[in-house]
Amino acid sequence: MADVINVSVNLEAFSQAISAIQALRSSVSRVFDCLKDGMRNKETLEGREKAFIAHFQDNLHSVNRDLNELERLSNLVGKPSENHPLHNSGLLSLDPVQDKTPLYSQLLQAYKWSNKLQYHAGLASGLLNQQSLKRSANQMGVSAKRRPKAQPTTLVLPPQYVDDVISRIDRMFPEMSIHLSRPNGTSAMLLVTLGKVLKVIVVMRSLFIDRTIVKGYNENVYTEDGKFFLCVKRSFDVLVFALRTDVSVLKQLVICKLDIWSKSNYQVFQKVTDHATTALLHYQLPQMPDVVVRSFMTWLRSYIKLFQAPCQRCGKFLQDGLPPTWRDFRTLEAFHDTCRQ
């Protein structure tokens, strides 16, 4: 097979090497023949032994010679590496039974996929690095030696401090009430009720806001287990009315688990959730996280007029069936999502 593309394989040396292999084979078989035949019949025992040894030595020398010749020729043949860029895994393509074990095609797909993944990851990191979203005070890339000692980290704060900050913010606005609970370890979970418009579940990490979910006033914010307790709570409400006791005391007696994962059923609140996530990334001040929480709550409070305020740009209430859901971060004006640019 005349491979025109492949220049590195020396065809001459190749054919010579093949004949050298044949010569080597024959010399090796001559050695074993000599051994098998044993000593020839001669007059004296010494003569027979000497003749045998000399014959044996000759054969071994010829094997040696052929082996050296083969080594020399194999060095001249060259490596056909360009034919198989995948080296050993490329030999999988020679498997004739592709239907039962399609290893090679799967291998190729996996390779293409990982290449694409690397490409997209590179693009994404380039875009993300343009806007630094670091909300903690620790600096990356500063070696441990150069980092100033005893840097106060705002990531580890006593829970009592967090409770105090939240209760102060709770008293800031009359129409907004914040209820704090810690059902899962040390991170606080806030249930913010804004008038009769919406409810927001805020998951915190010390004083940093991690994520938010916005739901309607009449939607259920508790998990399936919590529903049972809600029924108990309702019948308690009647009892409470009769006994004139404090409802909030009973609320704490009943353990309700906040549902922090399921989205709202209404598109308008799904949109507001997206905006709230944008807001919690926008308000950043690593050294003073309580200011951040305060600004976030002030921004959130502007949603009290979600259904009443028309869009500042187009003047209408509805755009694609949605009211103006965007609140500007500085001026707190209402815009439709499509009108804000």
Partner: protein
């Protein structure tokens, strides 16, 4: 349950009820609404029967009937105070409406014209049969509206044909805005939406919106609106047969 507005769409000039409904639904579909099944709201009327028993005897009779199956709210509504009973016996019977809404398939609504609205489960119908002596069904009074439901973003629109017996008497349009529960908040928003597909036939704010300023809107308010609509249609003259060509 979100804020709901129920209104009547007048039949277009020279067209039948069916054709007007089709026009409306086509407009809705052009807006981008998706069909999501059908709905039905019906209403039956009962007269409170004027009884020869004294007021005490009346309430005692009713109480004995109710002990088998009763909720506290039923007793409140159906056992009028003695003073009221005297007034009722003097008047011609007060009207009570028993309504069903397919949006709440397991519930039954019972309401008086300006009075309280009771939300009970469907066994209430059976209870009404037991109370035949005190609440008599008005003849040929059943009125209902049936049609299709459309979903557009967070709005739920129901366009139905109001029928009384075999004849179609009008068109009802109901729009519900799910996310909002306070009526006064979102009336302007609802109005804008109504204008987009009803055009010049957009209604004014329903009376129930004015009554409840910051209270949470409930299904009882929707049923009150339907009751008012049905009463209005009942009083209207029947559509002249000659007009339907």
């Amino acid at each position: 349950m979100g804020v709901t507005c129920v209104s009547q769409m007048p039949v277009a000039e020279g067209k039948s009820v069916q054709q007007t409904v089709e026009l409306l639904t086509r407009k809705l579909e052009m807006l981008g609404a998706e069909k999501q099944g059908t709905f039905c709201v019906d209403c039956e009327t009962y007269h409170t029967a004027a009884s020869t028993l004294g007021s005490q005897g009346w309430s005692a009779m009713v109480r004995s009937q109710l002990t088998a199956t009763s909720t506290s709210q039923v007793q409140v509504i159906l056992l009028p105070q003695p003073s009221q009973v005297a007034g009722i016996i003097g008047q011609t019977g007060k009207l009570m409406y028993v309504m069903h809404n397919s949006e709440y398939p397991l519930s039954c609504f019972a309401l008086f014209e300006n009075g309280p609205c009771l939300i009970a489960d469907t066994n209430f119908d059976v209870l009404m049969v037991k109370l035949k002596g005190f609440f008599q069904s008005a003849k040929a009074s059943k009125i209902e509206t049936r049609g299709t439901r459309y979903q557009y973003c967070d709005f739920l629109v129901k366009v139905g044909t109001v029928t009384m017996g075999p004849s179609a008497r009008g068109i009802s349009v109901e729009v519900e805005y799910g996310p909002c529960v306070v009526a006064s908040d979102c009336w302007s928003l609802l109005l804008e939406f109504l204008q987009s597909f009803l055009g010049s036939h957009t209604p004014g704010a329903p009376a129930v919106f004015g009554n409840r300023h910051d209270a949470v809107y409930g299904p009882a308010d929707t049923m009150v609106q339907y009751m008012e609509l049905f009463n209005k249609i009942r009083k209207q003259q029947q559509v002249p047969v000659a007009g339907i060509r």
